[in-house]
């Protein structure tokens, strides 16, 4: 790995951490949702500073290239995250459905009651 590439890795991982923290500070992200991203970005920083971790682990598992190992791990983590987001989205969708149905039915029941009172 060239020195330049390592410097780029470190700079970008630090920028990512900075970006995420800034978004949290501006409260565009809930704390509960931000935990994952903070841990994930710190993980990236650690890997950038100490690539030997990746080299050691890939050697342990018999993976020829450490890059493959890094890709494998990150893709897996993102896939799990993506799936959990999908679940979350489904639940939100269901909640929105229930809320709007509730609003519409309440409104209708109220209108009916008013009409009866007039009569």
């Amino acid at each position: 790995m060239s020195v330049l590439f390592r410097i780029i890795l470190v700079i970008f991982s630090l920028l990512t951490v900075g970006y995420i923290i800034r978004k949290i500070r501006r409260s565009q992200l809930q704390i509960e949702d931000s935990v994952f991203w903070i841990v994930f970005s710190i993980f990236l920083v650690i890997l950038a500073f100490f690539p030997s971790i990746a080299i050691f682990l890939s050697g342990l598992l018999g993976i020829a290239s450490p890059v493959n190992f890094v890709f494998l791990v990150i893709i897996f983590i993102l896939m799990v995250k993506c799936f959990s987001l999908s679940i979350y989205l489904s639940q939100l969708n269901d909640k929105i459905k229930k809320l709007s149905q509730h609003i519409a039915i309440n409104e209708k029941v109220k209108e009916d009651r008013e009409k009866q009172e007039v009569v």
Binding site: S90, I96, K97, S100, Q101, I103, A104, I105, K108, V119
Partner: protein, 286 residues
């Protein structure tokens, strides 16, 4: 006891100052109700109303409407004028055009969903309303003029006669299906349903369905209960009884179908994968 179970009739009675003298049931399968009546001069007289029990079953017609401003008036007026003994509710699914304004201007029964939540959510809203008002059955009826209200009564009669949980208005029970590409999807779903449930559902994509209240309640309160063939297939496999009635349908009058080519493909993917794979590990919770 018949009337106690029928809030719509109770409301009708309260509204029109009807006093019931006696109810005689089961003379040749008919129900006779002796009650007071007001003649044209406004004098009170004695009258008798009778009908099949089917007529006394309270059905709420749910009309989901999304951007149907051009046709909704025609559909609902036709229903109100020609079939006034049915209760109906228009469910405006957050339309972008003035469907909601038109319904309010005409004083239709309207559930006005604040945002667009899709056909299944709209029908679900109607079912929740029916559950709240304790109807005996609900009928899903398109707001685009495709369905003919003349077939509602035969479907209700069928439900009473057979005791089926779901009655589908089928275009192809006695009429043969034509061989055009639009029927291709229908054929595919028909085959899948037949393979997985053994039931010969002649018109799975028909949107004209009558659900008895227990089933409608299940639809109203569960996730993944879209009023689509996959749910019907799933329920069939779980022992729900189904019956079909031959109906005729009109071509769409205005507006755009929920399904264009891309949409149709997505619809087919969803329904087919749901019937073939997902239904097997669903758990039914009542």
């Amino acid at each position: 006891m018949l009337l106690q179970n029928s809030p719509a009739i109770l409301r009708h009675i309260q509204r029109n100052n009807i006093i019931i003298c006696s109810i005689i049931t089961n003379i040749n399968g008919l129900v006779y109700i002796v009650h007071n009546r007001y003649n044209r001069k406004g004098n009170e007289t004695l009258g008798c109303t009778y009908g099949r029990k089917a007529l006394i079953m309270n059905v709420l017609i749910i009309i989901p409407a999304y951007n149907e401003a051009g046709i909704i008036e025609w559909v609902v007026d036709n229903l109100i004028i020609n079939y006034p003994h049915f209760d109906y509710i228009v469910v405006n699914d957050g339309s972008k055009d003035d469907t909601s304004e038109i319904c309010r201007r005409n004083g239709y029964n309207l559930l006005d969903l604040p945002v667009n939540i899709g056909l299944s959510g709209a029908v679900q809203a109607g079912m929740k309303y029916a559950e709240k008002l304790e109807y005996d059955a609900v009928l899903q009826f398109d707001g685009d003029g495709q369905h003919d209200p003349a077939y509602i009564q035969p479907m209700v009669n069928q439900m009473v006669k057979t005791g089926a949980d779901i009655v589908i208005g089928s275009r192809f029970k006695t009429v043969k299906k034509s061989f055009n590409p639009r029927m291709l999807g229908s054929r595919v779903i028909h085959c899948l349903v037949r393979l997985t449930t053994g039931y010969n559902m002649t018109d799975p994509t028909s949107g004209m369905r009558l659900y008895s209240m227990p089933i409608a309640r299940e639809f109203a309160n569960n996730i993944n209960y879209g009023p689509e063939p996959d749910t019907i297939a799933y329920l069939l496999r779980n022992g729900v009884s189904l019956s079909e009635v031959q109906v005729g349908m009109n071509e769409r009058k205005t507006g755009e179908s929920y399904l264009n080519w891309a949409g149709a493909l997505r619809y087919m993917m969803r329904i087919c994968s749901s019937i073939v794979f997902i239904q097997w590990f669903r758990k039914r919770s009542i």
